[in-house]
């Protein structure tokens, strides 16, 4: 357990979730005050079992997180449908427990582990991260998770382990979107070992202090905030340490549009659209476009990983 440090915010400074200002909360408040007719919106707040965690302010952004409603109803999760609103509906019946993760490859410790076994060894932290999708929208999300590096160290990867490969569950009975070959199933992603060991990379198990909802990648997902959202693979069942660069699904699908690294980079256009700007969800219809930041604003922390690398070539 990390002891409270002098940089942690005082309890009085921590804005309670209920006060996070967003469009709908303002309107809901106005409705309650009788200023607006009731629109019938049910603004849903965080639900689900709570997760004990500590705040990690140094690694979190101070930007206001998006609402639970926005984060859990706008998802790119093709395993549950290709429309943004699909996963919230189609993942309702998904059972994320029991869950096992297989660790394999170039490491001294390998095997199948239950999620409970994995989580036993890790203290959970809150990381408020920006998430930037390659489609040009972005959010700020208060994840609950633990450093991927801490997880990797437990398995003692050998010197041959140059990459970490992740695989999502493949079960069309439980994931109806997988019945249609819009992508090559199961979804696969990978990181270079130094990227995986970086303090910002986490394995995510929760959101807004609650257990991760199904549509957000329950029960275990990756969050790599300086890369486009596709790298933050969901519903992980396999983690492997490999010598060769892993296949990643979007690169297999459309290689000239999606590479392996997928670092957020306003200077490298997607072939079909510019990446210079992005739409911040929840900012209000006319306020949403803003400049995209190099490495999604995490350049100070991660730029050194890519020194000397041609980021236009290794996109």
């Amino acid at each position: 357990m990390r002891k409270t440090g002098k940089n942690d915010p005082r309890p009085s400074e921590i804005t309670p979730e209920a006060v996070y200002l967003n469009r709908r909360t303002l309107i809901a408040g106005a409705v309650a005050a009788g200023l607006l007719p009731s629109t019938g919106w049910a603004e849903s707040g965080p639900t689900g079992p709570q997760l004990r965690h500590t705040r990690n302010a140094p690694l979190s952004t101070t930007e206001t997180p998006n609402s639970w409603e926005d984060i859990t109803t706008y998802n790119n999760y093709f395993e549950f449908g290709t429309e943004k609103a699909d996963p919230a509906v189609n993942a309702r019946a998904f059972r994320a427990q029991p869950w096992t993760v297989t660790v394999s490859g170039e490491a001294e410790v390998r095997g199948r582990f239950t999620l409970e076994d994995i989580l036993k060894a890790h203290a959970l932290e809150e990381r408020i991260y920006r998430l930037r999708c390659v489609e040009r929208w972005s959010m700020v999300i208060p994840w609950i998770g633990f450093p991927l590096g801490d997880f990797i160290r437990r398995f003692k990867p050998t010197s041959r382990a140059r990459f970490v490969e992740f695989t999502t569950l493949h079960d069309p009975k439980r994931m109806p979107g997988q019945r249609y070959p819009v992508l090559e199933w199961p979804y696969r992603e990978g990181l270079r070992m130094d990227e995986a060991m970086h303090p910002l990379a986490i394995l995510g198990v929760g959101l807004y202090g609650r257990v991760l909802p199904n549509q957000s990648g329950a029960p275990l997902r990756l969050v790599v905030p300086w890369k486009y959202g596709m790298k933050s693979i969901k519903a992980i069942v396999k983690i492997a340490f490999t010598e060769k660069q892993p296949r990643n699904t979007w690169n297999v699908a459309i290689p000239d549009e999606y590479g392996f690294y997928m670092n957020v980079n306003p200077n490298v256009d997607h072939p079909r659209w510019s990446q210079a700007r992005e739409r911040r969800i929840g900012a209000g219809l006319f306020n949403e476009m803003q400049p995209t930041l190099m490495f999604n604003g995490y350049a100070d922390q991660v730029a050194s990983l890519y020194r000397g690398m041609d980021l236009a070539k290794y996109y």
Binding site: L36, T39, G40, I71, T82, L285, M289
Partner: protein, 227 residues
């Protein structure tokens, strides 16, 4: 009787129905009536306007076959209105892109039109709709005569470009664009078949030795239909 029904009941009702998709978006943008456009309303607005542009293009292309297969000529009164709604939704779709996506950055728009093929053809389709909308009045039809018919065949090109624009824009799931393409193929195929049948009929008449030297068509010339 049916003509009166179309003029007084069907067309006004259809007009109101055509406004429904737009009203839903306006309601959602301002939060009226419990309509929610989701977490990314700008994207929802852009997509809905785009899809309804295609819907109206296809519906417009259905009018002539419907008229021919049912024999109910008054249906043709709806065609111009439906076509103009396609133009309206297309213009609104472009305006949404210009305002909410490009933030009125005209240079950005021109760059997109030049660099992104799917936007090039979308923009071309929009531009082609303009002369069609401008010549949609009765006065224009009279002025242009036979040329009106030829000009308005551009709608076939516009519809193809529109569907292609959608297909090219989609990230990976091409099912919906392919459905649109299939419907369009049927509607264009119908016209191709009808044109082929007419040519056959002309050849048969020519074989019987009628009026071909003077260049007069065997079938009486069809004047552009007023809607």
């Amino acid at each position: 009787m049916f003509d009166t029904f179309v003029r007084r009941v069907l067309k006004p009702a259809a007009f109101l129905a055509c406004l429904l998709p737009l009203s839903r978006l306006v309601a959602g943008a301002f939060g009226f009536g419990g309509v929610s456009l989701g977490a990314n309303p700008a994207e929802e607005i852009l997509e809905t306007l785009g899809k309804w542009t295609l819907n109206f293009l296809l519906i417009t292309l259905c009018v002539t076959p419907a008229r021919e297969l049912t024999g109910l000529a008054p249906l043709l009164r709806l065609r111009r209105m439906l076509g103009l709604f396609a133009f309206t939704y297309a213009a609104l779709h472009f305006t949404t892109y210009l305002v909410l996506d490009q933030e009125l950055d005209l240079a950005g728009v021109l760059e997109d039109v030049a660099k992104r093929p799917y936007i090039t053809i979308g923009f071309a389709a929009l531009l082609m709709l303009i002369p069609l909308a401008a010549t949609s009045t009765n006065a224009m039809m009279r002025r242009l005569g036979r040329r009106w018919q030829k000009l308005h065949r551009l709608v076939y090109v516009i519809a193809v470009l529109g569907v292609w624009h959608y297909y090219w824009q989609v990230k990976a799931d091409v099912r919906e664009p392919l459905i649109y393409a299939g419907i369009l193929a049927l509607l264009l195929g119908y016209r191709a078949w009808r044109a082929w049948r007419k040519r056959q009929a002309r050849h048969r008449q020519a074989g019987a030795g009628h009026a071909l030297q003077s260049g007069l068509p065997a079938v009486p010339a069809r004047r552009p239909q007023a809607s």
